[in-house]
Subunit: 146 residues, 2 copies
């Protein structure tokens, strides 16, 4: 069940990207089409699509294609790595993600105080109460990085 296949143009539209990018991802070894039609058209399965969605979401939040390739590849070449390595890698990535979330929460808070302070009216923002938030050095204090 669910053996529906998509042509490259359909998948591109579904995913909000374009065909060139999909072909590029193929050459980069990121998302391959399950098979080709008799005439050589790429045919993507639902799984291929899921893989692409994962990629696009991960990209959106700042992972490089190289990192994404590793993430997507966790289930592959299982025989080439020990469980210890796998566990170490996933643990590190999880911390990384937690740090990213924390960063986003802070940026969000800064924007929210701007957003709420602003009256939203049609007048010039010259006297807008926005001023203080981003100007305040404490708005986004540096705690610890890396």
């Amino acid at each position: 069940m669910n053996d529906k296949l998509y042509q490259i143009g359909q998948l591109a539209k579904m995913a909000g990207t374009n065909v060139d990018t999909l072909r590029y991802y193929e050459t980069a070894g990121l998302v391959n089409a399950t098979r080709r039609s008799a005439s050589g058209y790429r045919l993507y399965s639902e799984q291929d699509a899921q893989r692409l969605y994962f990629l696009l979401h991960a990209k959106k939040v700042g992972f490089s294609l190289k990192e994404i390739k590793q993430l997507l590849g966790l289930r592959l070449h299982k025989d080439e790595h020990t469980c210890e390595e796998v566990k170490h890698y996933t643990g590190a990535k999880i911390s990384e993600i937690e740090a990213k979330i924390a960063d986003l929460e802070k940026i969000k808070q800064a924007l929210e105080s701007l957003h709420m302070a602003c009256c939203g009216g049609g007048e010039s923002a010259e006297n807008c109460s926005i001023l203080s938030t981003l100007e305040d050095p404490d708005t986004f204090k540096h705690t610890s990085d890396k």
Copy 2:
């Protein structure tokens, strides 16, 4: 109070980046040094540093320098925009950030189930219970984008 100034090298080290990048950010209009020494050395204030930290954190979570420039610029050229515009922009960015956080939470969950399922031992990961999670199309289902 707190009128400490940093040379470019110090700031670069503090921020975990390097001097070339800081000079680049200057040419890109992102982070300027408050002033120059008699001999032309850039001298960064604590506020300049905060601005840089904001930039670096925002970059880490996938914002482009162009977007970051806008974020950092919200408090500038206040006279050129209406409160309405400001409010609209911040509102849109906040939604964007919420979507990013949601994406990260999903990726995190997927990695966490991998992480917990794996025994972490020294044997080959060939029979590792990792298999199912990333292979399952539902792991990162496409809901709605853009």
